[in-house]
């Protein structure tokens, strides 16, 4: 995309556009959900977002995306608010300058490839909460990580690793998510 652009308007516009499209559908579109949705756009749908993801406590995470969100919020593209006094989470919604910021990256955002990919990610993953997105993004990350390391894998290998990485999800929940990802032909591992 525009990783080397003087000002990465396309990245800023993408964050703003996702806030706009996911606000009505996502139960709580927060920082974790944004990370996972952009990860899916990047590694699953092949959109050159310019973001690189590493594995952290809550699954795939991009420091650059975290950083960009802060700036986009400062500019007024989105608003990031505390979810509640008790729960240490955040909600992202479009800000007062959302239109102006999307306009700066309109060519990218409205290109047929990106527009289709955003629609798919919203349709297929937009209903999941942050925790469900975290599990699916983790499955995809493990699948891609092992493939990149040249390690032949099947679904059982992925299940075993995800169980260790995400012990709070029971086996059935992981299996169900894994099956969903495999049915959607999102995984590179064998059956």
């Amino acid at each position: 995309m525009d990783s080397y652009a003087l000002v990465p308007w396309n990245r800023y516009a993408l964050i703003t556009e996702l806030a706009r499209r996911l606000e009505p559908t996502s139960s709580q579109f927060g920082k974790t959900a944004l990370q996972k949705i952009v990860y899916l756009l990047t590694d699953l749908f092949g959109i050159p977002t310019g973001y690189e993801f590493e594995f952290y406590n809550y699954g795939p995470f991009s420091s650059q995306l975290h950083h960009d969100l802060d700036l986009v919020a400062h500019i007024g593209g989105v608003v990031v608010e505390d979810y509640s006094a008790e729960f240490a989470g955040y909600v992202i919604s479009p800000g007062e300058r959302a239109d102006a910021l999307i306009e700066k990256g309109a060519e990218f955002i409205h290109s047929s490839e990106v527009d289709k990919a955003i629609s798919r990610v919203v349709d297929e993953f937009g209903d999941f909460n942050a925790s469900e997105l975290e599990l699916r993004a983790t499955i995809l990350f493990v699948d891609r990580d092992l493939a990149a390391r040249g390690k032949p894998t099947n679904k059982d290998d992925i299940l075993s690793i995800v169980q260790k990485l995400k012990p709070r999800f029971d086996k059935l929940t992981i299996e169900s998510a894994l099956e969903g990802m495999a049915t959607g032909e999102y995984l590179r591992c064998s059956n």
Partner: protein, 430 residues
């Protein structure tokens, strides 16, 4: 048998024979010729320390962190997290070796030349120094590590340490200890803030390391369900101080405008050297370092600060090499605020457009001081609490929560063009 190395920050650093052999390996000795802060000595003359002493320091601090955590909750580790005594012995050894070797893959002048690393066709990403560190462990240290009887007995091999370094998801529960090397409160930051401050001669990076060590613990995070390194409530302000120290070091030292432009001058010099054949060794890699493959890593390790500066001194590094020798660096001509508005970014684009006929350097100084959602430092209530209710530091600390990211872009021009460029930008800079 153990040996002691005197260190300016931590006093004596104790190593054993396995570590001594690794330290004496030529690939580790190369770190004596990789400066910790690149060309920062062009601004702060004391900044000539190297990755060698930092690596020893990280091993020392990571070990202290590990030991304090074990001491704090031995039963919890055994009963709740299923660590056996031999697991802990093995993991302590892995943490020490990984900490010692974590920076072994740095390019000459450290981060300054990182942009010249090769592109990985498999992952579609540019390699990072962590990938080179892992590759060096796999290809250069496997002979030693995989044949050492003590390490074999503990179930430690080179692949395991390399996986630890590059964050393989196959690590399973041992990922817990990776927090000690790669995290917001890790041994790497704990060491470099103190060490850089000491050598540069500033106080910005100081914080209370002992307080942090004595308040480290471990707990299962309810939200992620994973075990994590946490800080007890009595250490929350010490953790806060480390975050602030990092913020101060970046804004006052690492992002200093002249220091930043030297990163570009050294990177351009090295890039130039990597496009030509210099001397008897093949060095033409089209402006990139060889990849971290078994064959490439050997060629990569040939590059260190001494080799680069030797070639620069011989005049092989072009205009940017001459700048390094004469200190006639490019001059800052335009910069956005640390927290730009959209209009500031548009001014930046206009400024660059006006300077289209100049040779300019664009520098983006970006960093977030605290990652609220990825590896937020978790604070655990003191004794008396029945469950491990963890609270993110960013939620407890208004100071940490209020730390905004810096996103500053600067434009530089050659010194002789500064006046002309200033005249062109007069209308924008008003």
């Amino acid at each position: 048998m153990t040996y002691e190395i005197r260190d300016p920050i931590h006093g004596f650093i104790v190593i054993d024979e396995i570590e001594r052999d690794i330290i004496n390996h030529p690939d580790f000795q190369r770190l004596r010729r990789i400066r910790q802060l690149g060309c920062t000595d062009m601004v702060y003359p004391g900044a000539t320390h190297t990755r060698f002493e930092h690596s020893l320091g990280v091993m020392h601090v990571a070990t202290k962190m590990f030991e304090h955590i074990i001491h704090r909750r031995p039963d919890y580790l055994k009963n709740e997290l299923n660590f056996t005594d031999s697991d802990l012995q093995r993991d302590k050894r892995i943490v020490r070796l990984a900490a010692l070797l974590h920076d072994i893959g740095h390019a000459p002048f450290s981060h300054a030349a990182e942009e010249l690393m090769s592109f990985d066709e498999k992952t579609k990403k540019v390699y990072k120094h962590e990938n080179y560190s892992a590759a060096i462990v796999r290809y250069r240290f496997s002979g030693f590590i995989n044949s050492n009887h003590l390490l074999i007995k503990m179930g430690i091999n080179a692949d395991g340490i390399a996986d630890f370094l590059d964050g393989s998801t196959a690590l399973g529960k041992s990922l817990l200890w990776r927090n000690l090397i790669v995290g917001q409160l890790d041994a790497d930051r704990a060491d470099y803030l103190l060490r850089d401050s000491h050598h540069i001669g500033v106080a910005y990076g100081h914080y209370d390391l002992n307080r942090i060590l004595h308040t480290l613990s471990v707990a299962i995070d309810e939200e992620s369900g994973s075990p994590q390194v946490v800080v007890m409530k009595s250490g929350a302000h010490a953790a806060e101080a480390l975050i602030l120290a990092r913020y101060m070091m970046f804004t006052q030292v690492y992002f200093q405008h002249t220091r930043r432009v030297y990163d570009h001058h050294i990177a351009e010099s090295i890039k130039s050297l990597l496009t030509q054949k210099t001397g008897s060794v093949e060095t033409n890699y089209n402006g990139k370092f060889p990849p971290p493959t078994e064959e490439g890593i050997q060629k990569y390790l040939d590059w260190d600060d001494c080799k680069v500066m030797g070639l620069v001194k011989q005049g092989h590094a072009g205009e940017h090499g001459r700048i390094l020798l004469t200190r006639r660096h490019y001059r800052r001509i335009f910069e956005t605020p640390e927290r730009p508005e959209q209009s500031d970014l548009e001014k930046l684009e206009a400024a660059k457009q006006k300077l289209s006929n100049f040779a300019i350097i664009v520098d983006k100084a970006e960093n977030s001081w605290y990652k609220h959602d990825a590896s937020d430092i978790r604070i655990i209530a003191e004794a008396g609490a029945k469950t491990d209710k963890l609270t993110p530091l960013s939620f407890l600390s208004p100071v940490v929560k209020g730390l905004s990211a810096v996103n500053q872009t600067r434009l530089y021009v050659p010194p002789e063009k500064k006046d002309d460029a200033n005249r062109l930008l007069m209308s924008i800079n008003k």
